[in-house]
């Protein structure tokens, strides 16, 4: 990740006439190029106001906002906004314009010629997974909610802005659609590397989307500004902890991958040994289970001494318990699920060809959870300041 500062808020305030308390008070924040910064907080905490000051839909009362080193107040507001992608919860597609027209609005304002606008609209529709030939001439009301928001994202990306502002962009969709849109957007972001300010009141969404999360309190005061991992592991105060809600540990499991924790080895029983060598091998395991595998080392079943046929000590092919496997990229939550399904509290890790690679156990999981990295200084502005047992555990955006 590059460390160029893309957005710099310096002591930004917003007062409204006739109101004593500012809506946003002394907000300072540094955002690096390519980060997704999530502003999260209760309704009315000023998170949307803060975001709208970046593209000057709301003019800051005092303080400075720099985008890529340029003071936003030095630019004409409309010009500024054409260079910043903007996505809102209500999508805001213009109902009387076709999908392609909606997407091409900003390029048109920027004076592109018609051919180029059309080509760009098609390219973007394709990018967000809407077949241009089918969708370009549709009207917004002929699209589902999820499709509309994809067009909304495409419209925001039209002029390839380096910075995007997203105000609860997936808030109005049903949970399944939201999940899909989130995943798709994260995948998109891997290619696009935009600098994104993302407002939500949903903490789970914040954890999922954020490179870093700013938990805001009244008047947009930053209570904690840190990576999702650190936020979950060590909330700065009780308010943040309350906001994170229950199940912080479980939420942590979503953020880490199986390849980030230590794997253990267990005894394998090759097919040729299943008949006669199995007894001896199982006795050596001292009561715990072994795994039968096929000729290609693909896991078959969990077995232990009880599964030996009484007389010969041979293994019946159907004995034992079926195996639940996980891949190294699976989240620890998936691994935990697999462990709970297995008799011995272990999940079998397989490689992409389905071959045995190792096992992860509850013990291993516990260790990771209890050695989660200490919290870095909140708001220190270093995005990947993380320490931990396993450096491989670092969850870079590329991995998501």
């Amino acid at each position: 990740m590059s460390h160029d500062v893309m957005i710099d808020l310096q002591q930004v305030n917003k007062f409204y006439r006739g109101q004593k308390a500012p809506v946003v008070e002394n907000m300072s924040m540094t955002i690096q190029q390519g980060e997704i910064i999530v502003l999260v907080g209760p309704s009315g905490c000023g998170k949307t106001t803060t975001m709208k000051m970046i593209n000057r839909l709301i003019e800051p009362s005092s303080g400075r906002i720099l985008i890529d080193g340029t003071d936003v107040t030095a630019l004409d507001g409309n010009d500024l906004r054409r260079q910043i992608g903007y996505v809102i919860q209500q999508v805001g597609l213009f109902p009387h314009m076709s999908v392609a027209t909606n997407v091409g609005l900003v390029p048109k304002m920027l004076g592109w010629d018609r051919k180029r606008i059309e080509a760009r609209a098609d390219e973007l529709l394709h990018l967000v997974g809407l077949e241009p030939a089918i969708y370009r001439n549709r009207l917004p009301r002929q699209l589902s909610g999820g499709q509309q928001q994809r067009v909304g994202v495409a419209r925001a990306l039209a002029a390839d802005p380096p910075v995007m502002l997203m105000d609860e962009p997936f808030g109005a969709t049903d949970p399944m659609t939201r999940d899909r849109l989130q995943n798709e957007f994260l995948r998109l972001q891997e290619q696009l590397r935009k600098t994104i300010v993302f407002v939500t009141h949903d903490f789970d969404e914040a954890i999922k989307m954020g490179t870093r999360i700013a938990v805001l309190g009244e008047r947009s005061k930053i209570r904690q500004f840190d990576t999702p991992e650190n936020l979950l592991a060590s909330p700065a105060d009780s308010t943040v902890a309350q906001f994170i809600g229950r199940g912080a540990r479980l939420k942590q499991l979503d953020l880490r991958r199986v390849d980030a924790i230590a794997w253990e080895d267990i005894p394998l029983i090759q097919p040729d040994k299943a008949a006669n060598g199995a007894k001896r091998q199982l006795e050596q395991t001292e009561g715990s289970s072994a795994l039968t595998v096929d000729a290609d080392n693909r896991p078959l079943r969990w077995v232990n001494a009880d599964d030996l046929t009484a007389d010969a000590g041979a293994l019946d092919g159907a004995a034992g318990q079926t195996v639940t496997t996980v891949e190294p990229q699976a989240t620890l939550r998936d691994a935990l699920d697999a462990m709970l399904a297995s008799r011995d509290g272990a999940a079998v890790v397989v490689d992409e060809h389905g071959r045995y690679a190792g096992t992860v156990t509850l013990d291993g999981l516990m260790q990771v959870i209890h050695h989660t990295p200490e919290r870095g200084a909140p708001g220190s502005g270093v995005p990947d300041q993380r320490s931990g047992v396993a450096p491989a555990a670092e969850l870079t955006p590329e991995q998501r």
Partner: protein
Amino acid sequence: MSSAVETQAAATVLTPPSRWRGLLRRHATMPVILTVVLLGTYLWVSATNLDDIEQRFLNADYLLRTAGEHVTLAALTTVLVVAIAGGGGILLTRPSLRWLTPFATGLANIGQATPAIGLLVLLSIFLGIDFSTALICLVAYSVLPVLQNTIVGINQVDRHLIEAGRGIGMSPLAVLLRIELPLAVPVILAGVRTALVLAVGVATLATFIDAGGMGALIVTGIKLQRETILVTGAVLTAALALTLDWLGGVISDLLRPRGLD
């Protein structure tokens, strides 16, 4: 980004029904009714023995002249009302002028609430007896529906669309021209239609200050107790109002932005 399944499912939905067929279905009745009524009146008048007075009024020259005056009066009124009330309505929905709205609609309400004949007579005392006085009276009388509908039409546009427009860098003028007005067109045109019909009706009073129009037929018919003249005047006025209303409906359907339900 999307799955193939979804793409296919979406591909099968919604091709909007032909615009023209719908238009024909909705607007075919009125011309038929009007033709029948006008033809019936014509046949009735031709079958009647007309005396001197009746012949002086019920001839093509006279009828066309008064109808021409009437239409001119109504059309000019509409143009002026659209300019004044439409422009005023747009101004009154700008954030900086919104506070003026109650005063403006209050004023327009006076124009409409005052009995038209009273307004006409009052104005003629100050402005003299002529065509322009009648025009001013008609404008004052029909400003309210257009003003009100322009304001309502623009204000009913989803605020989020305006925010989205501003958010992607459209200027306030561009938001007005490309978003607010197109989406307000159906409501504004409904107001214009109402104003037009009002104007045609009230224009019959113009004859009282010698400003022409088909009111002359009605007034003469009453004064001289000539039923044919009275009925012809009334039928023609009504037919004119209905024709213009029908035309307004057709235009409003044609100008209606696509993508609205």
